[in-house]
């Protein structure tokens, strides 16, 4: 469990989180490894885990019925995947596929929500991190959809 705490503490998303909070969430965590080509999640599946990526590269894809999958974002070391899983109805809205060997910590979403319910200070700390991550995601998404390289 201690090595999981250390692993979480080393990740940018949890940077600065007090050790007592890391101890609280560590029981929700498990190491996960995905080989190249393996899916971390599929659209519409129940979102059971929130992934904290330590090493590797993950393609976030949307499947188009006539055009096949299109990659809309890649994630790598220091990124997280699955923050929307915290919002009901807890379903993935995208596919995510490991492009290379990817190591991550998977956090059980329901377990994490329960911890936040029990300790609102932890909930607030995580909320601040989600809000920051969300703001960054909105910023880059706006740039991405405006087609800034167009003529």
């Amino acid at each position: 469990m201690e090595d999981l705490e250390a692993l979480l503490a080393a990740h940018p998303f949890f940077q600065g989180l007090a050790p007592r909070f890391l101890r609280l969430i560590a029981p929700c965590a498990a190491r996960v490894t995905f080989n190249a080509g393996q899916f971390l999640c599929h659209e519409n599946e129940e979102a059971k885990q929130f992934f904290v990526i330590h090493h590797g590269r993950v393609a976030v894809e949307i499947y188009r019925h006539r055009g096949g999958p299109v990659t809309i974002q890649t994630l790598g070391d220091g990124d997280v995947l699955g923050w929307l899983g915290f919002l009901k109805p807890y379903h993935w809205h995208l596919d995510a596929r490991a492009m290379e060997l990817t190591r991550a910590v998977g956090l059980d979403v329901l377990c994490l929500l329960e911890k936040c319910q029990q300790d609102h200070e932890l909930g607030y700390e995580l909320l601040k991190r989600y809000a920051h991550y969300l703001a960054v995601q909105f910023r880059v998404t706006k740039l991405q959809i405006m087609d800034m390289y167009g003529k």
């Binding site: 299109v70 740039l143 390289y149």
Partner: protein
């Protein structure tokens, strides 16, 4: 820069180079004839032209970041950045996107045809002053073209710099310039290259996302890094913001601006941006010198 307290000044390179980069002729409005040697399609609408003087002994000495006015005879003239190797001045290389009549005429030239060239014009990337520093090159879309001469310069004098990192973004994999060269650069141990596109099919093996998302992954020592930026205005604005967030000072960031340039000499006023003329005082500027004018909608 080596002292770490002041950024380099654009246009004050070593004398040997400085003496060479001004429009050669006493008649800067008169085009010199160059012959098209090769035309290469980079993307569906972008072509790279290699030009040479009829007498191969003659060349055109330029500094990285400068541009020429290219004249498609009978059609008109357009300002185009030089994208070739400054150490090979006998070959003049320009990468051109087909967007109007003149650029269309330039892109559809055949080998052996003649093109008029005026230049080189403008200020350049402070590659000599950046020696002893890390260099971060951030390019978007066609913006890699004016940065390529700077990359050639850095790589041919690689030992004079700390880490060199290139971040390049485009709309799709098909819109990337110089793909084979990017692959070669990625294979070097003394260079980090990050390529990203806004969207890609699932067989794309590298990054998808905007350029700014890759900046935190750059190994950046803000006190010893000089950044060269070229791309669409929006991309540069957001990249500058991100670099400032990462601790880089304004006087260590250089941007190449694009305006409607006509004479190349600061005479006609077409490219005026507040107190500067982009053709003469730029196109490469130190960010702190133009920042007040970049976001003004009325200029």
């Amino acid at each position: 820069m080596k002292t770490g307290d002041r950024g380099p000044e654009t246009g004050n390179m070593e004398m040997s180079l400085d003496a060479l980069i001004h429009p050669a002729a006493a008649q800067p409005m008169a085009p010199r004839q160059f012959l098209v040697q090769n035309v290469r399609r980079e993307t569906p609408d972008t072509f790279t032209l290699t030009l040479a003087r009829p007498n191969p002994e003659e060349g055109l000495i330029f500094a990285p970041g400068q541009f020429n006015m290219l004249y498609a005879f009978g059609v008109g003239e357009a300002p185009i950045s030089i994208s070739g190797d400054p150490d090979r001045p006998h070959l003049l290389v320009h990468t051109i996107r087909e967007v109007g009549n003149v650029t269309r005429a330039l892109c559809h030239q055949k080998p052996g045809r003649a093109i008029g060239v005026r230049g080189p014009f403008g200020a350049f990337w402070p590659v000599a002053e950046a020696q002893g520093n890390d260099v971060l090159v951030v390019a978007g879309g066609l913006g890699l073209a004016p940065l390529r001469p700077a990359i050639y310069y850095l790589l041919s004098r690689r030992a004079a710099y700390g880490s060199v990192e290139i971040i390049y973004g485009a709309r799709t994999p098909q819109d990337l310039l110089y793909r084979r060269e990017l692959e070669r650069w990625r294979g070097r141990f003394d260079l980090r290259v990050h390529v990203t596109v806004d969207a890609a099919p699932s067989d794309w093996k590298t990054n998808v996302g905007v350029v700014t998302a890759l900046l935190p992954r750059a190994r950046l020592d803000p006190f010893h890094t000089v950044a060269f930026l070229c791309g669409p205005g929006v991309m540069m604005r957001f990249t500058v913001r991100e670099l400032l967030n990462l601790g880089l000072k304004e006087d260590r960031i250089f941007v190449s601006l694009e305006r409607h340039m006509k004479c190349g000499l600061g005479m006609c006023g077409h490219c005026q941006l507040g107190p500067v003329f982009v053709c003469k005082d730029g196109p490469v500027f130190r960010y702190d010198r133009v920042k007040d004018w970049l976001d003004r909608r009325e200029v």
